[in-house]
């Protein structure tokens, strides 16, 4: 590395325009996709496809679904209850007379809204609290940690039920129901983000670059936002995806227990499952299987993305292509290149 130091000009170093061209490849998910190999890549791609289908279905629900989510009749009169899957009703109708396919498609909207609101709320609150708690420490830190532990100790679904009843009084409109579900999920998740960000902050606080900022004379607020926060949020995308799938399960659980959203206000898979419990014993399978499959695939997709991002973020878990048999083409490896040399040291250490 002595040569690199004495070399006056960056020989063949990355120039600015090249860097700009590469930026899209450095986006969080895209970069990991390019990095992945083999089974890990398969998992990530499968997860991304499933999640992509969820998002597309939610956006284009009115185009995809033949009927509305609360529609009971069309021009020819009422649909009729518990109809077999047919050309008119692809996935049949429910005991209440709704079209199953339309409700499954519209259900993606509810699911996505709850995920986005819940995750956003819990990230903002959790990150802020974790940052302040970890950075300043002291009695504030102790109180917040105790509260977070207390919330952990509650069964999360029970807590969500209580929150949902407190917020909406048990009767739910679209906005009220979604907010109730989202906030119920938020309360459960804040401690997770709080914990992760607090732990990272405590670790980063002891790093030399934070001390160097203190020696320079930077204010606490500047150190927190500029030096600690950005370094503390690296693991968040991973928890985020995993929590998103948990949010779906909590929402479905709430709906199944009857504290979710009314069928006329929005389509919700958990509620539909609740209504199809009796059908199962009568041999009517289509009312329960399709909402159930929707839940499974959504959770599976998000979990696959989260898990594979988690593996890829850790150099020890990440699989790489083995070094090729033939020597690399000349010029492929920049001799004395700092980046590359560091990478080798990392591997050896």
């Amino acid at each position: 590395m002595a040569t690199a130091t004495s070399a006056p000009a960056p020989a063949g170093g990355p120039a600015d325009p090249e860097r700009r061209r590469r930026t899209w490849r450095r986006l969080p998910v895209v970069r990991q996709l390019r990095q992945s190999v083999g089974l890990q890549r398969g998992m990530l791609v499968a997860g991304l496809v499933l999640t992509g289908i969820l998002v597309l279905a939610a956006v284009f629900a009115p185009l995809l679904a033949p009927y509305g989510y609360g529609q009971l009749r069309d021009a020819q009169g009422p649909f009729g209850a518990q109809l077999h899957p047919s050309g008119k009703h692809w996935l049949g109708t429910t005991v209440g007379g709704y079209d199953v396919f339309s409700r499954v498609v519209y259900g993606t909207r509810t699911a996505l809204l709850v995920i986005v609101i819940a995750v956003l709320l819990s990230i903002v609150a959790g990150v802020l609290l974790g940052l302040v708690s970890g950075y300043f420490g002291g009695w504030l830190d102790r109180v917040l940690v105790v509260i977070a532990d207390a919330i952990y100790a509650f069964p999360s679904l029970l807590l969500a039920i209580v929150m949902a009843i407190v917020i909406s009084g048990g009767q739910s409109s679209l906005v009220g129901g979604i907010l109730a579900a989202a906030i119920a999920v938020t309360v459960v998740f804040i401690p997770q983000y709080f914990r992760v960000v607090r732990a990272e902050t405590v670790r980063i606080k002891a790093e030399a670059f934070v001390e160097s900022a203190r020696v320079i004379g930077a204010s606490n607020w500047r150190i927190m936002t500029r030096h600690v926060l950005r370094n503390a949020t690296r693991t968040l995308p991973l928890i985020l995806t995993l929590n998103a799938s948990e949010a779906i399960l909590t929402l479905a659980g709430l709906g199944f227990l009857g504290v979710g959203i009314q069928p006329t206000a929005a389509a919700e898979w958990g509620f539909d499952l609740n209504r199809s419990v009796v059908d199962v014993t009568n041999g009517i399978w289509w009312t329960s299987v399709f909402p159930g499959v929707a839940i499974v695939l959504t959770v599976l997709g998000l979990t696959l993305v989260g898990e594979s991002l988690n593996d890829l973020a850790d150099p020890r878990l990440r699989s790489r292509r083995r070094a090729a048999d033939e020597p690399p083409p000349p010029g492929a490896v920049e001799p004395g290149g700092v980046l590359i040399a560091d990478a080798v040291e990392g591997v050896v250490a």
């Binding site: 590395m1 000009a9 960056p10 591997v347």
Partner: protein, 567 residues
């Protein structure tokens, strides 16, 4: 090398090439390396970090990560003679059989190489159990025996102790005992003394020498310290960028190096006494009345205590230390780990609280100082941290990092306003302007430490605290950074506290040297006084333990050290 020599070699590496699969593509770490280690010989592999010396040595035991690809042949000959086996192509079972028995490893960091939840006796016996059936009593007896031979006092009793009950040097002895217990033909020692203090290093080097003389074990010594090489090695291989550039007997290499690179490497090793003339010349240039001027830093009976936890006693890091740094003066602070030298530096920068006594920094009393009242003083102090890899925010570019003090103290409103000054600063530390756009991980260690120096000097400080600024760097890079430091000090005239564990480095730069030992200041004076006629026994021991990069001179010093130790 004749045919006869080849027959007696325990390790024979032929045309070794190792490449790694990384995110940035395939990287060749080692190429075309051929080496032979003879029985009872110490072969030192020297080179900078990234030169492939560790990879070469580790491949002898096939201790490389999964991403590595090895080509060539490494022939290991069992000690009792017999058919040599090629490590590169052996099966898993055979590899297990050969590890420990034919070749063993001594790691760099003894505190992580031992498992904290087992007794040291158990860990030594583990190797015995892995290579054949031994009864518990036999294993214990062997462990006690080997512990005695590596110089652990009272081995019958201490064999049942856990690693944390031993000191760092003793732990390294145990790791060596672990390697010796199976009586291997060759021991691979990967920087065995880098994590240890100089005085302990001398003891471990002595032990390794006994391994060769008494046990007849060959040693492959990986190190970047030329003093260690001069002390221990019989033959030296110099590696650079994955290749061997020179191989010679140790005396030949030091007296008549053939290659340009070896000559550069040897020239950049700091030697004791180099700085004496330099310091005298600086002292002569001082204006009249300088000795009476108000000191920039003045400590009187300074005491810093870290509170103990849970009924453990408090730890006294600094105990009754008094010293002063006058304007434009460089004070070198030397001591081993745990001597309190870093704590003093941190206290001056306001990172650690002063417990008792007085510490005046630029006119502010640090005992009981409030952060709010100290903040204006901060812009007059620069700080260079030990590890340049961690002292930069990894998400900010070098320009942003260097501009940070300018923005914080209102000298520039934003990045654009600071750019001109940042460019000037980068130029003054001899970094190309274009490097400002790079991120810290895209720079080498030496470049990062230059940038760190640029950041510390951004506000023209009156005082610079440098906490082991070169201990994470290679010798050749260290020499350049030290030279730069000296030039900048001459040009800008700041006072400096230069903290280091390396006497030779401090001697190069400092006007005066202060020696710390267990929190107390045992000796203070000019380089000529402290190094030429040390008063305190600890300073004398420290000086004698420091290996010098010259085999003959070092042999003489070693005899001195042995006398000092026995007396």
């Amino acid at each position: 090398m004749s045919v006869m020599d080849r027959r007696s070699s325990v390790v024979d590496i032929r045309d070794l090439a190792v490449s790694f699969a990384t995110d940035a593509g395939t990287v060749d770490a080692v190429e075309g390396v051929s080496l032979a280690v003879e029985a009872g010989e110490v072969l030192a592999i020297v080179g900078e970090s990234g030169s492939g010396k560790t990879v070469t040595a580790r491949s002898i035991l096939k201790l490389l990560p999964e991403t590595a690809r090895t080509r060539g042949a490494i022939l290991l000959t069992p000690r009792e003679g017999g058919k040599p086996r090629d490590v590169v192509s052996v099966s898993g079972a055979e590899l297990r059989d050969l590890r420990g028995q034919d070749a063993a490893m001594v790691f760099q960091e003894p505190s992580t190489a031992l498992n904290p939840v087992y007794t040291v006796g158990w860990q030594i016996a583990e190797g015995l159990r892995a290579h054949g059936k031994v009864s518990r009593a036999q294993a214990r007896e062997k462990a006690i025996d080997v512990l005695r031979r590596v110089g652990i006092p009272d081995p019958e009793h201490r064999v049942d102790h856990y690693p944390h009950q031993f000191s760092g040097g003793q732990k390294q002895r145990i790791v060596i005992a672990q390697a010796l217990v199976l009586d291997p033909g060759v021991i691979i020692a990967d920087e065995p003394t880098t994590a240890l203090d100089v005085t302990v290093q001398a003891e471990i080097l002595d032990l390794l020498r006994r391994c060769r003389d008494e046990f007849g074990t060959a040693i492959v010594l990986i190190t970047h310290n030329m003093g260690v090489v001069a002390d221990l090695a019989d033959r030296v291989a110099v590696m650079y960028e994955g290749r061997i550039v020179e191989q010679a007997e140790v005396r030949t290499l030091f007296s008549a190096p053939q290659e340009e690179y070896t000559r550069q490497l040897l020239a950049s090793v700091p030697r004791l006494g180099q700085g004496t003339a330099h310091a005298r010349e600086r002292a002569e240039r001082r204006p009249e009345g300088w000795a009476e001027s108000t000191p920039v830093v003045e400590a009187r009976d300074l005491r810093i205590v870290y509170p103990g936890r849970l009924r453990k006693p408090d730890f006294v890091a600094v105990d009754g230390v008094s010293f002063a740094i006058r304007p434009g003066e460089v004070l070198g602070l030397v001591g081993e780990s745990g001597s309190g030298k870093t704590t003093i530096g941190r206290a001056i920068a306001g990172l650690t609280r002063v417990t008792d006594g007085s510490l005046r920094v630029l006119g502010t009393e640090m005992n009981g100082v409030k952060e709010r009242s100290f903040r204006p003083v901060r812009e007059r102090i620069g700080f260079v941290f030990q590890d340049p890899a961690t002292s930069f925010n990894p998400l900010l570019s070098i320009t942003e990092c260097v501009a940070e003090p300018l923005i914080v103290h209102g000298r520039a409103k934003d990045l654009a306003g600071a750019r001109q000054r940042v460019d000037d600063l980068l130029e003054s530390v001899q970094l190309p302007r274009s490097y400002g756009a790079r991120y810290p991980h895209e720079l080498s260690g030496g470049q990062r430490q230059r940038a760190s120096l640029a950041r510390a000097l951004a506000l023209f400080p009156e005082l610079l605290i440098a906490d082991e600024p070169t201990s994470a760097l290679d010798v050749s890079v260290q020499a350049k950074v030290l030279e730069l430091f000296d030039d900048l000090q001459k040009e800008l005239g700041f006072a400096a506290l230069f903290i280091s564990h390396d006497l030779a480095v401090v001697d190069l730069l400092a006007d005066r040297i202060a020696v710390l030992y267990r929190g107390r200041l045992v000796e203070e004076g000019t380089g000529a006084e402290v190094l030429g006629a040390p008063q305190h026994p600890y300073t004398r021991r420290l000086l004698a333990s420091l290996p010098v990069p010259d085999p003959d001179e070092q042999a003489r010093r070693r005899r001195q050290w042995e006398q000092l130790r026995s007396s």
